[in-house]
Amino acid sequence: MTSFILPPLPNTMKLDRYHLEADDPFTTFYFTSEGPKGKISKVVQFTSFSESSFYNLAMGDYNPATGEIDDMVVTDNGDSEKVLATVVGAVYNFCEHFPSAWVYAAGSTPSRNRLYRMGINRYYEIANEHFILLGETENDWEPYVKGKEYSAFIIQRKLVDLDYEKQNAS
């Protein structure tokens, strides 16, 4: 019988990131951004809306005083790289629990979309090793082309054939 497992993450992806907390089904994640603007609570949520394995990824600032979540706000807390790395950590963790999930991500604004694209482009080789990366076009999904502008992305964690790994290790 062939067994599949998610491939391990290389040390190069051990980026500085915030401590993550999650709910029990591992679909809602929480962390605190720290910077010149102070401590800002962030929530990341993976939402499915059908019986399929299609999930939406969204992130926003959480206001503990009002309980409101704002995904349009530009926090500008000087830690966008660390925040992005933390969201990537949430994606990895989510995919460990939902390995067949397709995760759809679209920025709330063109500038946030650009930030996501820059993140993918910067770590494209590693991301491509671990995920199937597709970009949304007018009529279809297409394999992600580095540098090309997309309105949204969709990813799925790649699986490794353990039997193949074992055969090649021996």
Binding site: D23, G89, E96, L134
Partner: protein, 51 residues
Amino acid sequence: MLRNSEKIFDKVQVNPALNKYSNVVLFPKKVAKAKEAFEKLGLPKVNQQSC
């Protein structure tokens, strides 16, 4: 699965207080946009086993 997860990233701590959000859509506008894409394009047709 969790064992592997711990190897890959720092362990994610479960916070039961977050469970109240598990069945709540926190980003309805984003989800509506994703739903549009799903209804228009469907799931990508990629066979993992052929990757």
